[in-house]
């Protein structure tokens, strides 16, 4: 938790959730409860949601608005940048060795945004956000560029689903092209919408440094959303062309990304305007918050399609999602078996193809390259602190994606806790 979630850039939300000064949301960064708040100067601050006095949570509820943040316990009052600005009976501290003026809500040391998405890192040093995201930036670009107005906003409610299993299970599953035919056999049968193996084999699967990956060239718009000649889609395309011109519009709509994984905290679908933030609660407990995005300037019907898609894919009672959660729990249960410590992650091993921007591409879309890449990053994050706890060590870049050969540990990886 310290070495990985305490260092990596984590996705916390989107600027549209904290538009006005005083708007805040509460979330978690690994074990840290945090407040994401818009300060009076327009900056976004990320503060540890724990009063400097006796440790109560200061902000309650998933979202809110407050001019100042007031602790419910003894009324310690903070500005929206965490500065302590008032407390009762202040004269009682006049002989205290610690000046109360120095006390405040702890600020998370690094906060940045990319295309409106809010990221933060609990580590004071490490790679910049742009370096961390690397070629995955294109997935965020893709989501935003699809908006005729060039902006997206969070809208339509947040699904919060949970499972009794480790946080890695969901990330290992999202770019797994083999599981749908088995895990979702019943949904596919009931809805009659399966894809043959060939589709998955031909799908592009790329991995990048720091454990990231994305799946591309999966579905064109005729498969899962309004048909290309549908009036709504034509209206949308025309709106997009007004901003980008026909050539760039064709390029934007031609980008067909399925899940993009920002290791270790996020998985999103740029093409379908879904973003999931993964919260590790305990070794065997994970909560996932799933958000929908509205493309500003697009026809209203497009957002209705987004919501209908969200209900079916991310809904807590979704025929699809419930089978994923069931299998995560079965994996978590059975991995406690002691007579076999290994899992097999060898599909596609040895066939990874170096591609542009320092990425590796799986030999086929069903390669397990994304899991090997995640575990290689996991291993390097955990090694960074070292057994002696080199807390000052910079958060180094896992080099996994630059290896032509995956490390042996990750071909047959012991399941980490």
């Amino acid at each position: 938790m310290e070495r990985l979630f305490g260092r990596a850039w984590l996705v916390l939300g989107h600027e549209s959730q904290v538009l006005a000064p005083g708007d805040f949301l509460t979330t978690r960064m690994g074990r840290e409860p945090v407040i994401v708040v818009r300060h009076v100067d327009g900056s976004i601050q990320v503060l540890v949601n724990r009063c400097a006095h006796r440790g109560s949570r200061v902000c309650e509820g998933p979202r809110g608005h407050a001019r100042q943040l007031v602790c419910p316990y003894h009324g310690w009052t903070y500005a929206t940048d965490g500065t302590l600005c008032a407390l009762p009976l202040a004269e009682g501290y006049d002989r205290s060795p610690i000046g109360v003026e120095e006390l405040g809500l702890r600020r998370v040391p690094r906060v940045e945004t990319y295309r409106g998405f809010i990221f933060a890192s609990l580590a004071p040093d490490g790679p910049s956000l742009l370096e961390f995201l690397g070629p995955l930036r294109a997935s965020f670009d893709d989501l935003v560029e699809r908006a005729p107005a060039g902006e997206v906003e969070v809208a339509g409610g947040v699904f919060k689903h949970a499972y009794r299993g480790n946080w890695k299970l969901v990330l290992e599953n999202h770019n797994d092209g083999v599981h749908p035919a088995f895990v979702h056999a019943s949904s596919i049968w009931a809805a009659r919408n399966g894809a043959p193996w060939d589709v998955w084999e031909k799908t592009g699967l790329w991995v990048a440094r720091y454990g990231h990956s994305w799946m591309g060239d999966y579905h064109d718009d005729t498969r899962l959303v309004a048909a290309l000649d549908h009036p709504v889609f034509r209206e949308y395309r025309a709106a997009l062309e007004r901003r980008l011109g026909p050539e760039r519009t064709a390029r934007v709509l031609g980008e067909l990304r399925w899940n993009s994984l920002v290791y270790p905290s996020c998985s999103f679908m740029s093409q379908f305007r879904q973003l999931r933030i993964i919260h590790p609660i305990a070794v065997d407990r994970t909560v996932v918050h799933a958000y929908s995005f509205r493309l500003k300037g697009a026809p209203q019907q497009m957002f209705r399609d987004t919501i209908a898609f969200a209900n079916v894919v991310n809904g807590t009672a979704s025929p699809v999602l419930t089978d994923d959660l069931e299998v995560y729990e079965r994996v978590q249960d059975a991995l406690t078996a002691s007579r076999n410590e290994w899992v097999e992650l060898g599909r596609g091993h040895g066939g990874d193809v170096p591609d542009r921007d320092g990425t590796l591409r799986g030999r086929t879309g069903t390669s397990e390259i994304h899991i090997r890449n995640q575990l290689a990053a996991w291993l390097e994050y955990l090694d960074m602190g070292g057994p002696e706890g080199r807390a000052d060590a910079p958060a180094m870049a896992p080099q996994s994606a630059q290896r032509s050969e995956a490390p042996r540990q990750s071909r047959n990886a012991p399941r980490p806790a």
Binding site: G157, V158, I307, P319, T322
Partner: protein, 159 residues
């Protein structure tokens, strides 16, 4: 309309519906819905909109049919075995009746058991019931779970 035991036609209908769910007779339960019916479990308390706000479930008759059919597939992992349930319907109130359709509100306590785990649900339920020659059919059903906004494990049971 009240039978000799004092149970109204509406109450009888809701109890019978609950009995179908508890008996695992999902096809018979599905047949209670009109072709234009919706089955809705909002994600937020007081949610007004189904089209631009996400829902735990918002099924039309076709999607509800898929949901029910899924239970019969041998590899419906989360539904095999299906949860055992008790649906306790209470506080039945007819809010409106225009002779064609009735708006009925009730409360539901449902206990579910599956794979060594028991879950308890509480909900306010609103039925829009349509009169047809041989009785009543469900034209819309809305289930407001008291914990709809919470962090919930996957939901498989039908309310």
């Amino acid at each position: 309309m009240t039978d000799s035991t004092g149970v109204s036609e509406v109450e009888r209908f809701l109890y019978d519906e609950a009995a179908l769910l508890d008996g695992g007779r999902l096809d018979d339960w599905l047949a209670l819905f009109t072709d234009d019916a919706t089955y809705w479990i909002p994600l937020e308390a007081g949610q007004q909109d189904q089209l631009t706000s996400a829902s735990i479930v918002f099924d039309d008759r076709r999607l509800l049919g898929i949901r029910v059919a899924q239970f019969t597939h041998p590899r419906a992992h989360a539904r095999m075995p299906a949860p055992r349930t008790v649906h306790q319907v209470g506080n039945v109130r007819v809010l409106a009746d225009d002779g064609h359709e009735l708006r009925v509100r009730s409360t539901l306590v449902m206990i579910e058991f599956r794979r060594e785990r028991q879950r308890t649900w509480g909900a306010t339920v609103e039925h829009r019931l349509r009169r047809i020659p041989d009785g009543l059919r469900i034209a819309a059903k809305r289930v407001d779970l008291v914990n709809a906004e919470g962090e919930l494990d996957g939901i498989v049971a039908i309310f």
